[in-house]
Structure formats: structure tokens, C-alpha cells
């Protein structure tokens, strides 16, 4: 079989494969650290995406930020959140703008609009490849901007301890009119 024919066969199979297996849903992977706050934030993103788009989301836990970054670069995960300290450390710079630029140019990762913009800076980061597959994601995740701060995260965390994370997050997002 010539290379050309082989490529045509693969192309056709790829299309059929997409049709056949797309229907359990495309899956988005969110990476997070093991801390409770990080897990909570990842679950908030997950719930928002699933409820609003029907897309399946799975979470992956990592021991440190460099592992999260590596997973984001190699496509193991699609999205993660980043605080200011981690952004500076991983990018090796000292300003948000420089860090954002480094992530874009060097790591092929795009910063979305921060969830929290001031002192408790927290920004969702997404792979460029993922953006191509899910172009509406930034607009959706931007809805969290200004909705969450550390005080509210603590409240959700306490609620989650009592009722479980699933219910606590669902109620929070519902109260905010996001789902």
C-alpha cells in the first residue's frame, strides 16, 4: 500500500472513528493540585462546563505545579488554574503580563480572564489545541469572573464538608445563576 493510500484510509477511518465514538461525549481533562482549594476550584470549573455544555469532564491530580504545567504542555490535561506565585515561579518572571506572554509563547498555553483578579489572583489556563476544539469555553469560564473570592471558596468548602462537594458546588453555581 502506498503512503498516499494509507493516509487516505487513515483519514476516512478517523472521520468514522469520530462519528462512532464522539457520542459518549468529548472529554475535557482538568488538572489540579492535591490541596482542598485546588480540588474545589477544579470541581467548580468541571461542574460549570458539564452543566452548560453537556461535555464530560474528568479531573487529574498532580503533586506540584511543575507537574501540572508539564501535563498541560503535553496534552495530558486541557485546563488548570494558576495563582500568581505559581505563575511567576513556573514562568521565571516577575509580572503577570510577562508570565501570560511566557505561557502563550513558550508553553502554548492561554490565560483566560482571571476568576479572581486582585490579590488572590487566580486564572484558568487552557491549551491552544483545546481552544480549537472548544472555542466557546473561554466565554463560559469567564462567567466566573468576579463571582468567586477566597471568602466564598471557604464557604463552599465548609458546605462541602457537610454535604459533599457535588451538592455544595451545584447549589453555589445555581444560586449565582450560572447553571
Amino acid at each position: 500500500m502506498s503512503v498516499k493510500k494509507l493516509l487516505i484510509v487513515i483519514f476516512i477511518l478517523l472521520i468514522l472513528n469520530g462519528i462512532s465514538f464522539a457520542c459518549v461525549g468529548k472529554t475535557i481533562y482538568i488538572g489540579h493540585l492535591s490541596g482542598r482549594s485546588d480540588e474545589l476550584m477544579a470541581n467548580i470549573l468541571s461542574r460549570l462546563i458539564t452543566e452548560r455544555t453537556g461535555t464530560s469532564v474528568k479531573l487529574k491530580k498532580y503533586p506540584d505545579m511543575s507537574a501540572v504545567l508539564k501535563a498541560g504542555q503535553n496534552g495530558e490535561i486541557d485546563i488548570f488554574t494558576l495563582d500568581e506565585k505559581s505563575a511567576f515561579e513556573t514562568a521565571g518572571v516577575k509580572s503577570r503580563e510577562q508570565a501570560k506572554e511566557t505561557y502563550n509563547v513558550k508553553f502554548n498555553l492561554v490565560w483566560l480572564k482571571p476568576v479572581v483578579e486582585k490579590d488572590d489572583f487566580l486564572v484558568p489556563v487552557i491549551r491552544k489545541d483545546t481552544l480549537k476544539k472548544f472555542p466557546a469555553l473561554p466565554k463560559l469560564l469567564e462567567k466566573l469572573n468576579g463571582i468567586i473570592n477566597n471568602v466564598q471558596l471557604e464557604e463552599i468548602r465548609q458546605d462541602a464538608d457537610k454535604r459533599g462537594m457535588k451538592d455544595a458546588i451545584k447549589d453555589f453555581l445555581k444560586k449565582k445563576g450560572l447553571i
Partner: protein, 278 residues
């Protein structure tokens, strides 16, 4: 040849994985009755025709080789499917489990098939009870319960009548795309979301004379849907529009979403029954 296998393993991990899973192919005519245990995949190929007689119980064994949290059991139809349940003797699709809950098996997938007819069937414990894509299908008098998606379709020519969708995450989930059809005289209740139009709906599939109530949201419009969608002539549990709107997630909740057009709505429950169906 080695290169081909290598490339396939990169592009099609699912196919390679499928080697480890039972795949039973139907290429001619086959009739099921009694109890059928399924471990893995049943594929009704283009040349195949599967008829399932009244009273048949199709039981999916709990296998999750890829550990994605969704049972691997499925029936995949590319040929013809006739599910011939009767009122007192339905065909049941379920899982072998003490407690039936969503995602114990994957789905009955009808994709690019010749035709599908489903009458008096019960689908429970699946990721999607039934998914229909690129196919003409008639679905009547059936129950979809305890699934993630009770009934799901896109780009299909469908007729759905006198069915009950209950205790699912989504009673009916669809991406209309180029679908046509009618969904009427159904009861859609006690789901998280009654009807979930995900994307690309132009109201070519008519939803009317359905009872849609007691869902957390009776209708929830997907984040990427652009146009208003018509859901007139349905019963929504209340007789005041303001109350009905509280249980609809659309432009009234998020200004970036289009609206669900519900007027005129019905003030009384629709009387259902098989006699209502064409």
C-alpha cells in the same frame, strides 16, 4: 504492515482496546427472546437485522475495561433494528447489578442505520438509554429511566410518542443539527433536566403535547445554542408563565442564551396513551 499497526494504535486506541473486549457481530438476520446476557459489544452490521421479541430481557454485565466510569456494554446498530415489546410484555435493557444507576452500560447506539423501530421497551442504568444519529427511527410506548441521557439524538429523522423519561440526568438530550421529526404525547418528569438542547437547534423537531414537569429545570438551553427554540403547546406544570419560566434555563437566566418559546402553553396535563401515536 508493522507501520500500519503502529499508526492504527496511535490513531485508534479504541480499536486496539476493542481487541480485548468481546465484540459479537450480527451480519444476517437474528431474533432474540428470553434473557440475553451481554459482555462487551453487540454490533449489528449494515447487512444485519436484529429483531427482539416481546418479553426479552437484555442484561449488560458490568465491565469497564477502559475505566472511564461508564460500563463498556453496548449495542451498536448500523443495519436494522426491531424491538417488538408489548404493553404487558416489554423488552427490558438493564444491567446486572444490585442497584440500577446510570452508566452501568453504555448505550443502544443507532448510527447510520437503515431503520429502527422501538416499541414497549424499558431502558435503565445506561449512559444513554438510546442514541440515534443519521437514522430514521420510530420510538413508541417506551420508558427511559436512571440513565445519564434517557433519550439522545442528533441529525436524525425521528418520531417519539407515548414514552416516559424519568430519573435521568437529561430526559431528552439532543443536538438537532439537521434532524426532522416529532416528539409528542410523552411524559418527561423527575429528571435533573427535562429537555437539554445542546447546540444547533432550529426547531425542526417539533416538541408538542408533552407533559414536562417536576424536573429541576424542565428545559435547559445549552451554552452554544444560538437561536430561540420553539416548545409551544406543551404542559409545564404551571398555568402562569412566570412560574413556568422559573424552571427554564434560557435567556431569562443568562442574557447570552436564546429563549425557549413556550407560548401558547397548555394549562392541563395531556392525556397520554398508545392510541395517541401514529
Amino acid at each position: 504492515m508493522r507501520s500500519l499497526i503502529f499508526l492504527l494504535s496511535i490513531f485508534f486506541p479504541v480499536l486496539v482496546f476493542a481487541q480485548d473486549m468481546n465484540v459479537y457481530e450480527i451480519r444476517t438476520e437474528e431474533v432474540w427472546e428470553g434473557e440475553k446476557l451481554i459482555e462487551g459489544v453487540v454490533a449489528v452490521r449494515k447487512s444485519g437485522k436484529l429483531t427482539i421479541k416481546a418479553g426479552t430481557k437484555v442484561v449488560f454485565l458490568p465491565v469497564d475495561l477502559d475505566r472511564d466510569g461508564i460500563g463498556d456494554g453496548e449495542i451498536y446498530v448500523e443495519g436494522e433494528l426491531y424491538i417488538l415489546g408489548e404493553k404487558d410484555s416489554p423488552v427490558i435493557f438493564t444491567a446486572k447489578a444490585e442497584k440500577i444507576e446510570p452508566s452501568l452500560w453504555k448505550y443502544l447506539m443507532i448510527n447510520h442505520a437503515k431503520y429502527a423501530f422501538i416499541n414497549y421497551a424499558i431502558f435503565e442504568g445506561a449512559f444513554s438509554g438510546v442514541q440515534i444519529h443519521f437514522t430514521k427511527a420510530d420510538v413508541k410506548n417506551s420508558v427511559f429511566r436512571k440513565n445519564i441521557d434517557g433519550f439522545r439524538f442528533s441529525t436524525a429523522n425521528i418520531y417519539v410518542c407515548n414514552c416516559l423519561m424519568t430519573e435521568n440526568k437529561h430526559g431528552i438530550r439532543y443536538e438537532e443539527r439537521d434532524s426532522r421529526g416529532t416528539i409528542h404525547f410523552n411524559e418527561i418528569k423527575n429528571n435533573e433536566i427535562g429537555i437539554f438542547p445542546v447546540i444547533k437547534s432550529e426547531s425542526r423537531v417539533r416538541f408538542e403535547y408533552n407533559n414536562i414537569y417536576d424536573n429541576e429545570y424542565n428545559i435547559k438551553i445549552g451554552d452554544e445554542q444560538k437561536k430561540d427554540i420553539i416548545y409551544s403547546n406543551n404542559y409545564f406544570e404551571f398555568s402562569e408563565e412566570q412560574k413556568i419560566r422559573k424552571k427554564i434555563y434560557d435567556k431569562s437566566k443568562d442574557k447570552n442564551l436564546p429563549s425557549a418559546i413556550i407560548k401558547p402553553f397548555l394549562n392541563k396535563k395531556v392525556k397520554l396513551g398508545e392510541h395517541r401515536c401514529q
